[in-house]
């Protein structure tokens, strides 16, 4: 929710950086992915594939680092607070969000007027952020399964056989891209719906007091 201060403790510098890396990698992957899917202008395939192949490693490393860091970096426990605790606690179910998922849905569907009490990340937000973890790894899996140097490894060739061959795997990989696009759209929208202060902190690391 908004109407509260946005302090650096909410998103310490390392997470501002991991967020930038996520964003830049996603843009590179989606753009090059679109291009690989259907080259809509000439002269770029080698670069597009190179871009995809670099960004895919970077995003996996970045995500893995982000997960590990959650266990030792401290972040704010509450909205608009400077009080910090280990970040992983923000990922797990929290007392403040209990019984609020359905209320949050109602709120966003305009079935209730008042904003809902939540932890730093609301129940929906938390589900969405957590879902990106397995989704990104799944995307990496489907990607490596259509990647020449790795596709013959048992773990990937087994998956290829299971989905009925590389064409189907490419279609799954392609659909997953749309899942990420839709996620990013909703995420960017919800994060900034009230005002742009959340973006000021996550991108510019600039504090605001409301």
């Amino acid at each position: 929710m908004s109407g509260h201060a946005h302090y650096r403790e909410a998103h310490p510098l390392v997470f501002v950086i991991t967020h930038y890396i996520n964003l830049i990698c996603m843009i590179m992957l989606a753009f090059s992915g679109f291009y690989i899917h259907f080259p809509f202008f000439n002269g770029f395939m080698g670069v597009a594939r190179g871009m995809h192949f670099v960004a895919m490693y970077v995003i996996i490393i970045n995500l893995t680092y982000r997960i590990i860091a959650a266990f030792f970096v401290k972040t704010a426990t509450q909205l608009g607070s400077r009080e910090v605790d280990t970040d992983i606690k923000n990922w797990l179910p929290q007392e403040e969000n209990k019984h609020q998922l359905f209320e949050t849905v109602k709120y966003y569907l305009f079935f209730r007027k008042e904003g809902v009490i939540s932890a730093k990340y609301g129940s929906l937000q938390k589900i969405a952020y957590l879902a990106t973890i397995p989704l990104t790894y799944l995307q990496a899996y489907t990607g490596f399964a259509i990647y020449g140097p790795t596709m013959n490894m048992g773990i990937f060739s087994g998956g290829l056989d299971m989905v009925g061959g590389p064409m189907n795997m490419r279609i799954i990989h392609y659909f997953m891209m749309w899942v990420f696009i839709v996620f990013t759209m909703i995420h960017a929208y919800l994060a900034n719906i009230y005002n742009l202060n959340p973006s000021k902190i996550i991108f510019l690391w600039k504090e605001t007091d409301h």
Partner: protein, 407 residues
């Protein structure tokens, strides 16, 4: 190998006007298909020249268009492949044999009794209509029964062409004939004869030659040795007709690499130089056919190396996108042939839909929903500093009075 071994082969080659040089070159390409170094060419040549006996073979047609027969029956000019195939003594070959009727049937029964033969099976195994989709003349003896009979005592079955491998185009959705492949059917009938799979539609005759060379000469007709001496790739697939998971054995030298990785147009792919219209100047300049639906990146055959029609050319070189005929379930996985991706067969009113259309619709709906939602948020006066916040959770307000709630 400068000196010629004067065997039967030498005479055959001479009669047909094939030079020694052509022959050695050919043996080199056979070596490549077998996954051997091309320096093995002289050994292969020597083995071919030294071979004495013919290997009995039965060529059985299932649910086929006879395209594979057409493909190997290239007899308009001398060709090493046809000569090597002469090492097989076909005792049954519906399309080209002179015998017919009871005599022909007898050839099968007799050979099965005696053993020591291979079966080359062309076409799908049509299980529909109680097997009667493959019956002619004798209604009690279906094509299924013939396959089981010949396979049960064979040294090996070579399933030629995609139809024999997994049902090919015959099994394309909705598969009314219940078509499936030889390996799947034999597995269901619990017949353990090894099946070598040579997909593409039709089969490339050179690949049959490679397998015959391997079985006859390198492995000395010993099937165990043949299986052990050949490098294989195994493709696993879930067969819908027999409802079982089937492992297909394919020679790795032929089916181990993608077309894309050996394609002469690949440089243009990397440079981003694509053909937009078939028959255009770009096509003639050898630009890549990816945008007009080339399935080379998803298809694993040696077409660019072996090539087709006596190694003259092949699909992509001739300017046609690969339609993926060497893959499994190849029609459903690759149609429409001129599109980058296969259609999703959603059925019903939706019919066949391109994945890109689905993606764009999902993305568009999400974008529209967010805009509408944003307008709603604005109208509800929530934008700016957000909505008035609740002081206690709804849950607590309702139950809190009585039970204390969460807090």
């Amino acid at each position: 190998m400068a000196q010629e071994a004067h065997g039967a082969l030498h005479d055959l080659l001479e009669v047909r006007g094939v030079t020694r040089r052509d022959f050695l070159k050919y043996c080199g390409s056979v070596a490549a298909m077998l996954g051997l170094s091309e320096t093995m060419a002289p050994q292969i040549a020597a083995a071919l020249e030294g071979a004495q006996k013919l290997l009995p073979a039965l060529w059985i047609n299932g649910g086929s268009c006879t395209g594979c027969t057409e493909s190997i029956a290239q007899v308009d000019s001398p060709d090493v492949a046809t000569i090597v195939l002469d090492y097989l003594s076909f005792e049954y070959f519906e399309t080209i044999m002179a015998t017919a009727g009871t005599q022909a049937e007898h050839n099968i029964t007799k050979r099965v009794e005696e053993g020591g033969y291979i079966v080359i099976y062309e076409g799908s195994v049509m299980t529909g209509f109680e097997g009667r989709a493959q019956t002619a003349g004798t209604p009690d003896k279906t094509g299924l029964a013939i396959l089981e009979e010949v396979a049960s005592n064979a040294l090996a079955v070579i399933a030629v062409g995609s139809c024999a491998v997994d049902g090919g185009w015959v099994k394309a959705h909705p598969n009314p004939a219940g078509a499936t492949g030889v390996a799947a059917w034999l597995q269901k009938q619990n017949i353990k004869t090894p099946v070598v799979n040579l997909p593409t539609c039709p089969v490339n005759p050179e690949w049959i030659v490679a397998m015959v060379v391997q079985l006859l000469l390198v492995a000395d007709r010993d099937v165990d040795k043949f299986v052990a001496a050949t490098k294989w790739v195994t493709r696993e697939y879930a067969d819908e007709v027999t409802d079982a998971s089937v492992s297909l054995l394919m020679p790795a030298g032929i089916y181990g690499q993608s077309i894309h990785d050996n394609c002469p147009r690949r440089g243009h792919f990397e440079n981003g130089e694509f053909v937009d219209v078939l028959g255009s100047e770009q096509e003639a300049m050898g630009y890549c056919l990816y945008k007009v639906g080339c399935k080379g990146p998803q298809t694993f055959t040696q077409c660019p190396v072996t090539r087709w029609n006596r190694r003259v050319s092949w699909c992509v070189e001739a300017g046609s996108p690969c339609i993926g005929c060497g893959g499994l379930n190849w029609v459903d996985n690759n149609a429409p042939f001129l599109m980058r991706m296969s259609d999703m067969q959603l059925g019903g009113a939706l019919g066949n839909v391109q994945p890109g259309t689905v993606g764009a619709v999902v993305g568009g709906v999400a974008a529209a929903a967010l805009v509408a939602h944003g307008l709603g948020m604005k109208a509800a006066g929530r934008v700016g500093d957000g909505p008035p916040m609740e002081t206690a959770k709804a849950y607590d307000r309702k139950r809190g009075a009585k039970k204390g709630g969460d807090k």
